[in-house]
Structures are given as C-alpha cells and as structure tokens.
C-alpha cells in the first residue's frame, strides 16, 4: 500500500548538514499497524512528515497505492493530505480559537462534506475517543493536553483516511485512556483495513503492532516481527 524508496531528508544547520532520514526503505501492506521507536531527535517526526507529504524529501520517493508523491503537483499533494492521510501531530496542532467539534469538522469541510453530516460525524468521533460530551463545544485552549490529544486523533480520523500517521498519540494520556486509544487504532487497522504507522515509546501500543521499526542514525531497521493472526495481504 505504501512503499518507501531510499528516502533522504537533509537539513543545513550552520555549516554542517544533518541527515535525520538517510536512506530509508520499507513497504507496508494495507491494514498493517506498524510502530517506530527511536531516540529523541533521531528523525521520527521528519520521516512521518515525508510520508504525509508535509515536506519534500531531498531524494528518494514515497509511492502510495502505485502513485509516486514526487511526481504529484502541489494541488494533488493537498488532495492526498486531505483524502488519504490522517495525521496526528506530536504537538496536536489544533486551531486554538475553535471548539473541539469545529476542529474535527475542518478536514470534512475541506473535503466538501455537508454541514449536518460533518457535525454528526464529528460528535461521533469525539465520543469514540472518549471526550466528555460537555467538552465537545469547548474551545481548544480550554482543554487539557490529554483532551487535546484525543481531539487531534478524532480529527485525523475524520475523512476515513487509508493511512494514519500518528506521532506519539498516547504520550499525554493516562494508562486507561491510552489503552482505549490503542484499541481504537488496532480495530481500525483490523476492521477497516486502515494502514497505521505510529511513532511511540508506549510499550503496550508497540506490542499491538504488526511490525516494529527502529530509527537510528537516519536508517530504519525492523525488529523481529510477530505476525498477527490472519493478517490481510497487502
């Protein structure tokens, strides 16, 4: 479903260049739940931004369902981000002066979903991530970090993307809520055939993953995988 080929992203900082992503290649089949671990600053967020078409690689390519991102014009990349990708940012990146519901409705508005349909779906998603219904209409800057994180997850699910890229989605959650989110993601990959790539240090989330990667010195290495029963073919 997603195929990464010799991906490189380098940054110039001062007089030296750093390569947080330096020749990464892998493939993920449809409905796979994969995890990435790595030290802070190892380039995990950088890799996710390349996969989500937020950034362009210095070299290499990402091929999604046979389409090369490198070949797509900006308008098509926008469409790709809107339709195919659900991104959960490490820093949530919600719009602070909008309510929780409005934030979840935004991607649907850009996709042209009717107002009634999008508000119904937004409420449903917020319930799925266990956000207290009385907080649905509350402005983002009056929500706690954990609450914001769940709104960010709900927003990523809004347009039923085929690839979810989540950067530490359980980092701010208590164990119980975290377990619930893990169960939610795992059911999405299993039941809705959604491909999910999570950056996480959460052991219980990593344990649920079909495949586990480690990013080190710009390179990705796969840890001994524990194949899930009846994993669908890619």
């Amino acid at each position: 479903m997603i195929e990464v080929k010799d991906l490189v992203r380098q940054f110039k900082s001062g007089d030296r260049t750093i390569k947080p992503v330096n020749g990464v290649s892998f493939e993920l089949g449809k409905g796979t739940l994969a995890s990435i671990v790595g030290k802070s600053g190892s380039g995990k967020s950088t890799l996710l931004s390349l996969l989500g078409a937020l950034d362009k690689p210095t070299s290499g390519d990402v091929i999604v369902d046979g389409v090369s991102l490198a070949a797509l014009p900006d308008t098509k990349l926008t469409e790709y981000r809107r339709r195919d990708i659900g991104f959960v940012f490490q820093q949530f990146n919600l719009i602070p002066n909008l309510s929780a519901v409005d934030n979840v409705m935004l991607p649907m508005e850009f996709a042209g979903v009717r107002k009634a349909a999008r508000s119904a779906r937004a409420k449903e998603l917020l319930e799925q991530v266990q956000l207290d219904p009385e907080k649905h209409g509350r402005r983002i800057n009056r929500l706690s970090g954990g609450e914001q994180q769940r709104v960010a997850i709900a927003r990523a699910l809004a347009n039923e993307p085929k690839l979810i890229l989540a950067d530490e989605p359980t980092g701010n959650l208590d164990e119980q809520t975290g377990e619930h989110i893990i169960a939610l993601l795992s059911s999405l990959s299993r039941d809705h055939n959604t491909t999910i790539l999570v950056v996480t240090h959460d052991r219980s989330l990593a344990n649920k993953a079909d495949r586990r990667f480690r990013l080190q010195q710009g390179r990705l290495s796969e840890e001994a995988s524990r194949q899930r029963v009846a994993a669908p073919a890619s």
Binding site: L54, T78, L98, L106, F110, R155
Partner: protein, 487 residues
C-alpha cells in the same frame, strides 16, 4: 463552521487590536466618504450653475459690452459666420438704443452734444446709439441714479464750463430721469437670450422686418399710460405698442423691444449689431462651441462670454474644491487600503503556523486565501459602518469648511463686481440673480444621499479586497511543514 464564520471569528480573536484597527479604519473610511459626499454636492452645484447659464453664449464687440468700452461694432456678416460654427443652433442679433426722454434733452441747449456723451450717456457709447423718445422712464433715478449722474456730470462739467453757456445748465439739473433701453431683436428673446414673457397683446410678428411695432415692459407701459394699440415716438417716428412683457425685474421692465430692422433704421446703422446671442445645441458642447466661435470671429473683433462672468469664477472655484475633495477621497481610500494591507500582512505572519496546520490537514490554498480576504472585509465593514455614520455627520461641515476657506477671495470680488455696475444700480437685465457669489457658494449643502454612500462603501470594499489580496497570496507560499516548527 464555514469559511465566513471562521473569518468573522478570527477578526475578533484579539478584541483590543480589532478595536484599534477599526478605529483607524473608521477615520480613513469616514474621511473618504465625507470627501465623496462633498465632491458630489459641489459637483451637483456646479452642474446646477452651468444649467442656469444654459447653452447661451453672448458675443460682444471686442473691448466693449453694453454701453461701455470701445472697438469695432459687430456686423450682420459676422452673425452669418457665427451661424456656421458647429453645434450652434441659432444666432440672434440685437441692436441696443439708449433713449432719453425728450423733455430732458430739451432742457439742454444742444441735443447733439447730448449724444456725444451727456449725463448717463456712458463713455464711448460705441455699441449703443442714443435716440430720443416721448416715453418717461418707469424707474426713479433715486440715490444710485443721481450719484451715478453726478459722477458722470463732473467730467462733463469741465467740458461744459469750457464751452461757457452750458455750465450753468449742468449745475442746476433738478429732475434727472433715467434712460430707457430699446433693444432691436431678431427673435422673441430678451437681451440674455431668454424667451420674452408676453403678458398682453402679441409679439412683433416678423422680427427681421421693419414693422413700426414695439413691445413695452409692464411698468414702462403703466408709467406712460400705454396699452396694446397705443402709440409713442422714438426720434419723432411713431411706434405702435404690439404687446407688453414682464421681465421679472424693475430694471428689465423699464425697456422696449423693437425688431432688429427698426432699431438699425432708427440708429441709421444698417447691418450693425450690439450683441449676438448664440444658442448651442447642448451643455456639453458649450465650451467647444465657445472656443470655435471665438476663433471664427477673431479675438480682435469679438468677445465671446458665457453667462455671467462672476458666475464663471464661482464655478471655477467650486471646480477646484471639487478637485481637492476628489484627491482627498482617493488619498483617504488609499490609506484605508494600506491599513488593511499592513494589518493583514501582520496577521499572516502571526498565523504562519496555523496556516501550516490548515494546509497539513488538506485545506486548498484558495480556501485559506478566501478566509483572509473575508477577514479583511469584516474589518472594512466595521470601519465602513462607523465611518458612514461619522461621514453623514461630518460631511456638511467638511464641505462648507472646504468652500469657505477656498473661495472667500473670489466671493468678495464677485460682490464688488455686481454692485459696481454703472447706470443706477442696474447692469443688464438678468445681472441681478447672481449678485452675490458668496450667497451662491454657501448654498452648497452636502446632503448625504444613500446612493453616494453606497458607491463610497463599494469603493472601500474594492480597495479592501485589493489590500487583502497581497497577504492572501502570501498564504499560498506558506508550506505545510511550518506545522512542525516551533511557535
């Protein structure tokens, strides 16, 4: 949540800043609207004044006007030439005669001296020819007439004294009576080109022919106990009253109209004209026709004027006020646009990361751009609403302030010109209505019409959109990866 709702919400995100921006915009927009209203009011006044002058041009001999000045008289040949000028619809020649009452003339020893430049006869008398009549003027000399008479008389007295016997007659002149103007006309119009208002009897019929008939002003007919069918004499020749007319002014009604041919015959000057009244086909062509006419007749032969000359200065100073207010309107409008441009550029920079978020979750560039343009329009709307209220209160005083500071000098001269006419407080008929340029200028009232305000607000919105377009286009350059950068 739609784009519009988001824009409105964003406009009020920082309430103190929004209030400050709206306040500054209000000043700029309010000023722009007030200037537009002032501009329209002055423009309307100019049009009204131009319309009051109408489409009539007056041609006088170069260097002379009425009973004053010098130069060569106009001729029938020139009238024919004037008629060929483009856009000229008609040319009416007139011949003015200055009639003195016979009794007054009789008191002087020599009638011929009188015609050379007697009291009130006016210096030169080039275009008008003096004749005698048995009619008595309907206007009493009064203070103005006598003063005028004395001042003329002093110069004359010197000659009179040198001549000897005439001196005494001039010094003891108890009953001075005003002259009466007899104008020969080629059509049924007064000497300013306006149609005559016949109150009894008929017109003169064929105005081109010698008829021996005359039209008398109502008060002149009354004073001399004449009515339609009665007769009177000019230079001993008998004329029948064909009708009476009302010119609306006491001076205008102390006049006689003859056919042009009769007047030329009385003066013994066939082909000679005092003035030509030239009618142009439309208001827009008056200026060009005036220039063409002047060129055709030659500036050394004829003076072409449009209506009242002090009216012209009034119009030109009003026009400069109009120009000033237009410049101020554009400047204030540009200021409003600049304020919007700067504030929106600032907002785009400030919300860089947020724009990155919108792009990262798939917002198309045009949606984001539209959101910023709409936000600018929200600010412009607030500024326009408050600005329109301010403008509707301020435009009246702004307009009058503009006019009074710009035209006091002109108005002063205008008044002096009007008051200083020779001949007993009376110039030409029709000279009265525009006596005070000041009066006419202060009568410009800047009434705020909704259409003009709407047009002004539309212009503000146009400028706001232009001002917001630049920052909106800047948002297109922001890349979604901004979302990962720190605040």
């Amino acid at each position: 949540m739609s784009v519009l709702a988001r824009s409105v919400g964003n406009a009020f995100r920082n309430k103190i800043r929004t209030a400050a921006v709206v306040a500054v915009l209000t000043v700029a927009i309010g000023l722009a609207l007030a200037m537009l209203v002032a501009n329209q009011a002055v423009g309307a006044k100019v049009q009204e004044l131009n319309a009051s002058v109408g489409t009539v041009l007056t041609v006088n001999p170069a260097g002379g006007q009425g009973f004053e000045g010098g130069g060569e008289p106009l001729t029938a040949e020139q009238a024919a030439k004037a008629a060929t000028v483009p856009n000229v619809t008609s040319v009416v020649g007139t011949k003015a005669l200055r009639m003195r009452t016979e009794t007054t003339t009789a008191s002087g020893t020599s009638g011929t001296t009188q015609t050379q430049g007697g009291p009130g006869g006016g210096p030169g008398g080039q275009a008008a020819t003096a004749v005698t009549t048995n009619l008595t003027a309907a206007v009493d000399a009064g203070t103005l007439g006598n003063r005028n008479n004395t001042s003329n008389g002093t110069g004359n007295g010197a000659t009179g004294n040198a001549a000897g016997p005439n001196g005494t007659a001039n010094q003891t002149q108890p009953a001075f009576s005003l002259p009466i103007t007899a104008t020969g006309i080629e059509a049924e119009v007064d000497s300013t080109g306006k149609a005559l208002n016949i109150t009894s009897g008929t017109g003169l019929g064929d105005y081109k022919a010698v008829s021996g008939k005359a039209l008398l002003g109502t008060t002149l007919a009354e004073k001399n106990k004449l009515s339609v069918g009665s007769t009177f004499t000019i230079n001993g020749q008998t004329f029948t009253v064909a009708g009476t007319f009302d010119a609306g002014t006491a001076f205008g009604n102390n006049a006689v109209y003859l056919t042009l041919a009769d007047a030329q015959k009385l003066a013994n000057l066939p082909d000679e004209l005092s003035t030509m009244i030239v009618t142009v086909n439309s208001m827009e062509n008056v200026d060009s026709a005036k220039t063409a006419l002047q060129a055709a007749l030659g500036s050394d032969k004829a003076d072409v004027t449009q209506g009242q000359r002090n009216l012209e200065t009034a119009v030109s100073s009003l026009n400069s006020v109009k120009g000033i207010s237009l410049v101020a309107f554009i400047a204030a409008l540009a200021t409003a646009g600049l304020i919007i441009l700067l504030i929106m550029v600032m907002l785009v920079r400030e919300r860089r990361r947020e724009i990155g978020v919108l792009k990262a979750i798939g917002a198309p560039n045009r949606t984001i751009g539209l959101q910023f343009v709409l936000e600018a329009l929200v600010l412009a709307t607030l500024g326009s609403v408050v600005g329109a209220v301010v403008a509707s209160f301020a435009s009246g005083s702004i307009a009058s302030a503009l006019i009074s500071t710009n035209t006091t000098t002109t108005a002063g001269t205008g008044q002096r010109g009007a008051g200083g006419f020779p001949g007993g407080g009376a110039g030409f008929p029709g000279g009265g209505p525009f006596g005070g340029a000041q009066q006419l200028l202060t009568s410009v009232t800047a009434s705020v019409s909704p259409e003009i305000l709407a047009a002004g607000v539309a212009a503000v919105f146009g400028v706001a959109i232009i001002g917001a377009l630049v920052p909106a286009l800047l948002t297109a350059r922001i890349r979604p990866i901004e979302v990962l950068r720190g605040e």
